[in-house]
């Protein structure tokens, strides 16, 4: 029930973790973030879409790793010791996303949030909750749960249908 509430709730969260994909900054609800770790070798899964890098062993749990850079068609996808994986808790599942970098955690008041634009960002606007503006920065506030459980990503079998 909690997920439903969060997924359908269109108001952005107050505390957001900001990461970059290419030139854009994205903010996600910090409560969805379990941890941040470096990119480790993954076990590749055959016949899976390119953005699914594979699975890793996260202290005994088998966790799939999605490279959002590949998913959103960014250029020069490289894996360095500084490549960052954000481990998320979405629904009942744990999943990791690869991003270019993690910058900071920002606090947003409602008045700092603008409605989502119709186009112009790499992420499908369905998953954009709004824009957060802090001084000169613009952060795209993303409904990460909706994105991760979407049919588009085909990460899970049933989850997106349930909610």
């Amino acid at each position: 029930m909690n997920e439903r509430y969060l997924t359908n709730d269109n108001s952005p969260a107050r505390e957001n973790l900001v990461f970059t994909l290419g030139d854009e900054e994205y903010g996600i609800n910090i409560l969805k973030v379990q941890e941040i770790r470096g990119y480790d070798t993954v076990t590749r899964i055959a016949n899976s879409p390119p953005y699914l890098k594979g699975v890793i062993n996260l202290r005994g749990a088998i966790v799939p790793i999605v490279d959002l850079r590949i998913k959103f068609g960014l250029q020069n996808v490289t894996y360095t010791p500084f490549t960052v994986v954000i481990i998320l808790n979405v629904g009942q599942k744990i999943v990791g996303i690869v991003v270019d970098s993690v910058s900071d955690v920002i606090h947003l008041d409602p008045e700092q949030c603008r409605p989502a634009p119709e186009l112009g960002v790499v992420v499908n606007t369905d998953y954009v909750l709004g824009l957060g503006v802090i001084e000169n920065r613009m952060v795209i506030l993303t409904d990460i749960e909706k994105l991760m459980t979407s049919h588009e990503l085909a990460l899970f079998e049933q989850l997106s249908l349930e909610t």
């Binding site: 076990t43 590749r44 055959a46 890793i56 005994g60 088998i62 966790v63 799939p64 599942k93």
Partner: protein, 780 residues
Amino acid sequence: MQIDLSQFFDIFFEEAEEHLATLESVLLALDIDAPDAEALNAIFRAAHSIKGGAGTFGFTDLINVTHQLETLLDAVRKHTLQLTPSHIDTILAATDALRDILNNCRQGVATDPVLIQEMEARLRAELLPKAVSSAAIPVLQEEARTHHFSIATDGQLAWEALLQRLTAEPRAKITGFPVEPDAKDPLCIEFIGTDSEFADLCDSLAFVVPPSAIRLEHAPPPLVDDANSWGLFHEETSTAVVSPSVLEEEDGWGLFEEDTPPAIAIVPSPLPLTLIEEDDGWGLFNTVPTSPAPSNATPQVTASETTDDDEGFGFFTPVPQPPAATSLATAMAEEGDGFGLFVPVPLAPPVAPPVPVVSAPQVVAPTAPRATAPTPTRQGNNAESATIRVNVEKVDQLLDLVGELVITQSMLAQCAAQLEQQGVGNDILLAGIKQLERNTRDLQESVMSVRMMPIASVFNRFPRLVRDLAGKLGKQVELHLEGESTELDKAFIEKLADPMTHLVRNSLDHGIESPEKRRLSGKSPIGHLTLRASHQGGNIVIEIRDDGAGLNRERILAKAIERGLPVHEGMPDTEVWNLIFEAGFSTAAEVSDISGRGVGMDVVRRNIQEMGGSIMIESVAGVGSTITLRLPLTLAILDGMSIRVNGEVYVLPLTCIIESLQAQPSQYKTLAKQGEVLQVRGQYLPLIRLADIFLTQTEHPTGSASLQQGLCMIVEAEKEMVALQVDELLGQQQVVIKNLETNYRRVSGISGATIMGDGRVALILDVPAVVRMAKNRSRA
């Protein structure tokens, strides 16, 4: 206070359900004609525990019903009420009602008071008509009394030893010697003591005389009573019967023989005394309070001596009417050593019979003229064991942690090995790591064993199910359970229940015929259903066997043709039987509420396959059918061979591997557009290149370059042999199976994942699925 107690509710509910299950299983195992005293006590205890718990937590509905149940059980246990099938039905109904009430309590819903009152009334009704007034309940203790017995003298007795034993026992008094040394007159002895003491004496005498020579005489009452006691015997009966007994009983009692008056003289127990004694000792006569009990023994003796066997022990062979003494005596007769009679009857409530020879049945054997042999005391699963209740999640967590520990340990071992290679090894470190390895393995095994449970917890539901179903279907079925202590993973236990229930129902409904039909086909009217579990290699094998009609090949084929399935007359039986696993397949002439709708067998097979098991049917028309379920030992651990394909490590379940070989280029053959085959010792096996199946994005199909150096694993998938080509063979190891679907989704060709010694994830191959994938590819 209520809040404080409520945290224990769950425990109480669980315990109560367990007690109910115990009660039910013990009850169903009970031999109605000769109930085992210990079993009766166990049933009573179960009911009592529920009542006690309900009292503590204030579930009045439960208390009311259990109280009545307890009263009924107590009467049965104390032998003031003899058990009948109707009692069993009522008690079972009561357990059902209790379960309902329990569920209602759990959900905090009030139970319909009418229901409770009805149940109480029913229980009370069972009790009332046959119960005796409280005054008649026998005194619950053993009393010393006079026992008379005789020892047949056929000239072969060890007289000296016998006399020595007898004189060593001060309470025994020899009352009658044979008149002449070589005469057949018996040695008569009088003994004063309790029943158990007497049994002890008999035991000790058995060292010197054959047990068959020892005869018991229960203080025979004066003969005058015989005639009018039962109305069964005419005035002249006493004399008429006595004479044949004299003729036949060569080494008789000396009781009825005219020329041995001492025999009668030495049994002078007065009538009133006998009455009381009999009452105390056996509680027999309560049920027929009007009949003059004391004369009981004698008429039977005389009546049966005329007819009965030369063993001389059958004198209590039941005449239709007489109460309990009959079955007692017959039980004794069957025992052979003749001591059964003296085993004290457990009348005092908590005292179990000290001698487990025959728990003297207190019941009239209404049907069988010769009561069945007493069942051996059951060493039951009702034995209380020291257990604790732990949430499964905690065990699983423990298992996960141990898995992690194993990984850490193997990482350490690798490090140590590297250090040693570099020449900086430390003996103490190495020794420590070796020990860690051993301990970890032991720990892993122990934690695994925590998850193992005896299959009895699945089997135990079937006695009731079979009883109910057989009653509903009007069939007579005897259920046999074998190998109940076979242990398997708890996860299986839960998943097995439904498929097995289905199979058992099927066997009862379609397999075992009605008694008439069985009689017509020359079988015993009672059908037999056997559930057997056993270990076979790395598998648990569960058999469900019935001796019913077997599967009907023609009917199945006809049905298959009707449904448009690809079948032909010449199909082997096994393939025909497998048709019944097709969805919606039912040949049942009519649909009953038990089975026959054709949903199910496909579900059963799917359930079993999901557990990594297989299902097999054997059937012979008219003889019966056997369904065999084969399951891996555990869900959580797998013996596997790790292989490398396209740079990734995969685990191949060891159970499906037949052999591995380095194939020569000449062994590869291609079939035009049908893919490749591998020639192995004259057999052509389909060849599947795993590298082509498990393509990852960055790799391109490995060309024929790797073909030459490739290794082939011959595997069996769904009864089909297939060669899998792999890049490298890494070694065999036990792996902890992890579910990929926990955080991801199902991947075709992969049954799960595991974590290898280096902490990396390896995927476990689902061989049948891989074969299917390859077939689809070659078709495409």
